[in-house]
Symmetry: D2
């Protein structure tokens, strides 16, 4: 069975030797032993656990039509609407374990995008990219690899295209085409989890390109420890040692590290390249990738909102306000936000189509709408959680004070809420609200929800572009009795 | 082929002879000739037209698994998710013709609710309601009948159940059980289109009942012209004669009439009764009907928002402001509202299940969320349309002034906008905005969008009840490290 | 005492003889007898009534510092912050009589704008406009005249300035300068109440002008019945005959008529002109007028929201839902909207300054913010009112049905709500909600709230322009430790 | 001159010797030297600085009518509307230095509340509380003391009043009345800045009391280092050592520490007591204090939003997107939120009245509305800031990486934005956004904005209670023609 355990995933990291990993000003000798990566690795490991949990196995694994073995659904390329809907379900169900961020959504998203785009380029140019992708995807499935997405260029002056930037490296590009492969140079910003994934997928995702920008139209896979790659990392949010009461969630798992990944004349052999100069496919690739990503993002945000609803209900229970009308209103609003977001993920899948290459391609429009909706309603959910908790969620003394015998006794006396619940429950519920809404982790999560998969500003343009406005104008003309 | 033409539908009304129809203080002698019903009938007729339009036939008709003939999808009982999704699509596509309100959504909604509930009651009590429903549904399909829903009791003092009301008739109830049938008394408020449908479906939809309220648990079908029924009607909104420029939309079609339907000791033979005393099924029936209705309502609202987007874009074109950033923002918001609403309809279908009786039963939660969302965002859409139009949409002189030679010349001179578009287009676009946002019709539509299928207040309770909050609380406890 | 009674105002209309007034396709022989103007006149008359009501006299009248007589506050030019705050109070208090629209706000707004701008022009050019304005204002105060604002050009293609329009008349302009006065040509769109005011104030309010557009920089007062002026009118919204139950509010008063006012080579003697070619003052005049107008608009919107809160509470009382949590939430939201809007009016006054000419000039920023806020929250208030009422507010049969003995008996039986309140109260409360949210009047009011005093799109640019963003950037730089 | 310098304030802390101060599990030997208090003290010190800054002196100081010396406005009790408006202005202007939180708002708020309530109690009971308060206020003004508010009880089970709690200490109460004073016991939650203020003001602010709860009706002033008081503190948010780039704002100042203050049989001499058993004044005191506090809170929130607007504009400048339509929209929304919030503060002052005791008492209604508005729009502002910044605001490597020569060179190369601005500016602008929206400080600030001065749930009840709904219902009845 090609479904790894958490131990096998971790072991795979030990076998990798990226040479240039930096974190917080220092060179990291061992990715696996770096405290700043620990929670990210743990979070990914949980996504391996779910595949071995009898309760979830049915949903989280399946027989691969590609390699004929049992594989993790994280690595499966959707072949049908049913597949797409099961994937949505897996994303939301992962919330039973953790949300956010297990990062496993990206593996299939990258693989599906590479699968479709390579097929289409081959069709036009007779190239042989697709077979390369097929081979790599099989390898990913067989070995249950984690793919890291390396997509967003630094972009420099945003009003200028790659070819007009004073520094040509601000967008990643080909510097040499050789017989055995290509040499690339540039960087990618905020590559989530990169040093502890197994395989990078590098695609141009920053802006459509013009004919004179062919060198920027390059996509490939490459192992994490490829020579010439430097990762300058930002640790996952929250404390790096356990903090049982103060940060019950974010000190265990939750966030991911990010890397600025710098490609300094990196060599990529041809068998890992699946776009090399076909600039006119970049716009299509961006749409396609966006659509695939948005479905996952919306499902994941819905799972996050489930946790928000649960935390809100929990703290109200402890405060004795569960039946208060305003608490019920808040709960209904958080639930509605969750369901709207998830509905958009479902609609994106349902309104997709099966691409010639055999992969189900979702419709970007509902996904974009759902992403913008959820990003802009996160603040609302937090407001509700904070109000339900009251100021104590943030002004309460800290774990060490609760554990100090002198102050601890006083605090437990005065933090007692409902007679039938231990003060401990109330304290923990309040600290959870702090962790989810008013902590370093909360700050990271907020930023991610807004910007991951594209900031709302850009997505909104996609919404306008993806909607058939002319058709609606025709309806309006008919209603106004304006002859066409 | 069991698909009627508009002419056949209209002819069927001529064959019906309801004895007590009142409108605007007068008794109506002929439903078909009453101007106050004309636009409603025309709007229903358009839903017959779409079934014969080659462009839409594929979607709008299908082979009935029940009677083995080609039928209208309006009369089809969904057997599968695919059916449910096609129905959503038909609802939104009907917007190519008209939105709102063709009223044809209710036929299958009532039929599916009756189908399932009768099946479940029979299963528990060994009654034979289901076969009666099957027979009626076959008749509906064969004759392509329009079912009118008669569901909402006047309710009196809302803080009291039926059995506590000073006047027992404020909820419709059985007054006598006879060998050949039952006698019922009571009323139903705001029965849309009732006098020009073909068959009434009467079900208890106002509140769950208790054991001592069995007489209120009664459901049946009955012809529109059954003896003892009085319809006190309110005409469809907007002018009842054509108003080409001033009300280009609402003077042709759009709205529906409503009736307070009073049942004064009406006899219903047993073969048309499918609930008679089984009070404990009323709650379930309400949920079921709500779920079926919400899916249609959301799809329909999305179609309405398509028209809003089109009208907004049209008037901006005429004013020369189509590229203005705020107009683009508004368009994106209207589109997003439409897509969210439609996504909820889709999710409601997708997350349904096939009931034992063979009918696909949608999940009420996303539909309720979508309905509340759309109802509460209608005002936003109108704000955008009005601002895009400017005050002229409502202050501009009227059709007669435009047609008066003296003032018409002046007005056409001064209402000229972009040089490349006739003043006529601008005038019509502005009048359309008036019709859709600031007219008698607009007022009716607003009220309908908010209250149809249940007011948001009640739906919100359904949202709280339909969501698995305990599961989310478990997640929160896990995150807070509170042992269960 | 220079405070007219309603009878004196009406009598003044009988003394005026505008020659070219059209309404609904026909020439109006007597403004006073035209049913389409009746409610508008009645609404203005109520603003005269309040000045004679002992309960309000203190607030509504004062001793004029200009003419030394008791005058109506409607005609007073604010000299101080105290004056400005009392004016806000009068606007909101007028809601005890009526809201909207008594139209009396415009008299002093126009007068104050003319007062200040003429002073500033004189200061720069040594012209003698200000004394002309002083004289006219005294006349207005002495005779308690109603000024009608005639401000908004048709504008043609909105992307083009006056000088580039194919038709030069699309902005009102001077066609000849004569010894005794000027000749003007053009039109003004949506002049509220114009034919039944006493004196028009015509100012350029459409866009800032350039040097080659001096002929468009023209401002003057002129009697309503000046030769050469044609009014093509749109009647006030709602029925023009009394409709006691069906439209309890809008059939009595509430709305105003509008006119497209066409100036066909109209002669204006110099003593009524207060701008003639000083194009560079147009931008300042627009800001000034906007500031004055916004304060009134916000106060008036707050009064409208008071009525919304009252209607919502009333219908909930009748339905027996006054204590329901969602109704309380809605009430709090409507109240909050009212208080925010009114607070902006107050802040606009407080943050103003006394202009050299002696008039208190408000700060436009808070007023613009308040106007945009209220315009965009109107839909929310309506949603709440409609939901509190339920569908019956719009589907209920009409007045004639309630009065028909057969149907009336049935309807009163079934429309009974709480036992301790007559059905009549419930019916009237529901019809009021219809009138305020879902009627022809409601459509008109919606459009007015959004567009009066400038559509939000334009106001938002004013907000950005009026705020000291550089100062805030300096704070941000300090916080970011970026050296200036 | 009775206006202290920052040095004098700091020196005063050195003279105080609170015996029981705990922080993060340890006993604090010297408040002044505790790193966890440093930023809070620095933030208060800035409020002393502004009084000595020539640019602000006029606003920030005045001649006290009470002691006849120049005092800080922070210590002034408003005597008039003008005073109240200047105070609003000072609060917003303090944002030129810092926002949040200088904590100086509380001194006069507590003093004014004590001043008025003691006057009213004396009037009813002939007690002599007021003269005690007068004496203390003079002392506060003379010595420019910082008052710390100690107001909120732990409350235990929120559904129970003080007298029904299993533990009587969950609300602070009198345990003994002695000849020379009283003994009190209990605790106060989240006392901001308490250990580094000069004088605590302890008032009952948790809920109205009944006759059998007289022992809970107790208010007094007491020095910070009174025997028997234990402070269990939570440090101010953000790092406690300087972090130039990473946390440019929150590592210098911004937040405040909080204390759970435990009163363990503390003796208060009579001359510092101003309420002792007069339970029926507690509700009035709560309203009064709320009104005073809300005005300050709204002004302060407006200042915070100014900083948000500035940061948003700054980062857009650096990213080269300052002219993008969506950035302009966001800016307008943030500005509008600031102006609405500030307008509510102004209206609260304007609609106040001069209390018999000589102090200007604001109207709570607009302040409560403004507080709820601002609290619920904070998330929106953050969303805009984050989107304007993009993900880099949170995924970017940290200060140490920027300073490490190897990675620093790479990062400065790739983080370069507009050619005419140093990469440093862009980095700092992004880090500022992180600090303000996605950091430990941001979490604290969010919680404060929502809960300070009372959580929105409670304030909303105040809004409903403070509005004259009956008057509005009368208007609605008049409009509906329902005879009273």
């Amino acid at each position: 069975m090609a479904v790894r355990t958490r131990a096998e995933y971790i072991e795979s990291l030990r076998q990798q030797h990226p040479q240039q990993v930096y974190l917080n000003g220092k060179k990291v000798e061992s990715v696996l032993d770096e405290p700043g990566f620990k929670k990210g690795i743990e979070s990914i490991a949980l996504a391996f656990d779910i595949c071995h949990d009898p309760k979830y196995q049915e949903l989280a694994t399946l027989d691969s039509p590609l390699i004929g073995e049992r594989i993790s659904r994280w690595n499966h390329l959707n072949q049908s609407l049913e597949d797409a809907l099961l994937r949505n379900q897996l994303m939301r169900t992962m919330g039973d374990y953790l949300v956010p961020c297990c990062y496993r959504c990206m593996t299939a998203a990258e693989a599906m995008a590479a699968w479709i785009i390579s097929y289409d380029i081959d069709k036009k140019y007779g190239t042989s990219y697709h077979q390369r992708v097929v081979k790599i995807v099989k390898e990913v499935q067989k070995n249950d690899l984690v793919i890291g997405a390396s997509l967003v260029d630094p972009k420099g002056d945003r009003s200028l295209p790659p070819s007009k930037q004073p520094d040509p490296d601000l967008f990643l590009h080909i510097v040499e085409r050789r017989k055995d492969g290509i040499i690339v140079k540039g960087a990618r910003a905020h590559d989530t989890a990169a040093p502890y994934t197994n395989l990078l997928c590098v695609m141009p995702m920053s802006r459509p390109l013009r004919e004179n920008e062919k060198d920027y139209a390059v996509a490939f896979f490459t192992p994490v420890d490829t020579e010439g790659i430097t990762y300058v990392c930002r640790a996952a949010p929250g404390p790096h040692e356990d903090s049982d009461i103060e940060h019950p969630f974010s000190s265990r798992y939750g966030g991911q590290a990010h890397a600025y990944t710098i490609y300094d004349n990196v060599f990529i052999p041809w068998e890992r390249v699946f776009m090399c100069g076909e600039y006119e496919f970049v716009g299509q690739l961006m749409n396609l990738h966006g659509a695939l990503d948005m479905v996952d993002v919306c499902s994941c945000h819905a799972a996050g909102m489930d946790l928000a609803a649960g935390a809100l209900a929990l703290v109200a229970d402890c405060n004795g306000t569960a039946k208060a009308p305003h608490i019920r209103e808040y709960l209904i609003n958080v639930i509605s936000n969750a369901e709207i977001t998830y509905s958009c993920a479902i609609a994106s899948a349902v309104r997709g189509y099966r691409h010639e290459s055999g992969v189900w391609s979702p419709n970007p429009l509902p996904g974009e709408v759902g992403k913008v909706f959820s990003a802009s309603h996160l603040g609302q959910n937090r407001y509700y959680m904070q109000e339900a908790a009251g100021g104590s969620a943030r002004t309460m003394p800290q774990e060490a004070d609760l554990k100090n015998p002198v102050t601890g006794e006083l605090l437990y006396k005065y933090l007692k809420g409902r007679a039938d619940l231990p003060a401990e429950h109330r304290i923990r519920a309040l600290k959870l609200i702090q962790d989810l809404t008013a902590s370093d982790f909360a700050g990271w999560h907020h930023a991610m929800c807004i910007c991951e998969g594209g900031a709302p500003g850009g997505l909104r343009l996609g919404i306008l572009g993806g909607y058939d406005l002319d058709k609606s104008k025709t309806k309006a003309k008919r209603a106004a009795r304006i002859a066409e």
